[in-house]
Amino acid sequence: MRYSTRENVHVDRIASAWLIKRFVDRDAVFEFTSDGSQVSGTIPFDMPGADLGHHGTRCTFETIIEKYGLREQGLAELAAIIHGADILPDIDTTLESIGIDLAFRAIRLANASDQEAFQFGFRFMDGLLLAVQARGLR
């Protein structure tokens, strides 16, 4: 399937796209929209009004986990970290969120396009999940 989101990506869009690609739809292809409008034939995510978006106090990453019933070890902890990094009032809910917010800003700035930021961010998220899982095994 094709998925679309707002351009100039940050933590929740990168992490959510990674979640879709790794756990929901291996063939997912991502497109970006500059004005937040719907791209026909795509599933929008992290956009105003999108089913896969913010709902209540949940960020998009948490919505996707909930909607698809994802139970992979470490995802719940990752969700708390991403939530804090995305939602400013909750940034101190985990020790990691402040650093993760900065790390994703760095990913965006270090990459020339949103597509490249996604590729870089996906590898980072792979590592982050492994790190969280390894911590749980200690």
Partner: protein, 166 residues
């Protein structure tokens, strides 16, 4: 950015009160200033605007209505708002400074390991409180430097006490 503002105008159903409280808390945590009931303002910054959109979703899903607007204020109006944000930032940082000075005074009474551990915990809490206050210091407050210096002093003193205890 200094003359541009994000305005959230909203109305919530009177019940449930937990929704009103949750929205109010989130807006407070973003450092919003209420211009009147249901009308709050923040500097127009992309990350802050995005977070106001998140709160707007919560308002809408809770049965409320909202308008999220960007407004360009005159220099005079903007200066009034900036001053209000500065006063609030100063208050937060002054409170942190007061607590740190109290902690500094307590350090001279440390005798037991448990006192030392308590002081370490308090310092950690103060550092987190400072990070929060600094995040909301949108227009710069000189007190930030003073709080950082006080944090460093307490850290140094605790390190000195720890070395002496060995």
């Amino acid at each position: 950015m200094a003359n541009e503002w994000a305005l959230l105008v909203y109305k919530l159903p009177s019940l449930p009160s937990r929704l009103r409280l949750s929205v109010w808390r989130r807006l407070q945590a973003l450092g919003c200033i209420y211009l009147q009931d249901g009308v709050c303002v923040l500097p127009r910054r992309d990350d802050l605007f995005e977070n106001l959109q998140y709160v707007a979703v919560q308002i809408s899903e809770g049965g409320g209505v909202f308008h999220l607007l960007t407004s360009k204020g005159s220099a005079e109006e903007s200066e009034k708002l900036i001053e209000r944000f500065r006063i609030l930032a100063d208050e937060r940082l002054r409170t942190a400074l007061t607590r740190l000075r109290e902690l500094e005074l307590k350090l001279s009474d440390i005798g037991q390991i448990s006192d030392f551990e308590r002081a370490e915990d308090e310092l950690k809490k103060e550092r987190v409180a400072f990070l929060k206050a600094r995040r909301l210091n949108y227009f710069g407050s000189d007190l930030e430097v003073e709080v950082e210096a006080a944090l460093d002093r307490v850290r140094s003193e605790l390190d000195r006490l720890a070395r002496g205890a060995k």
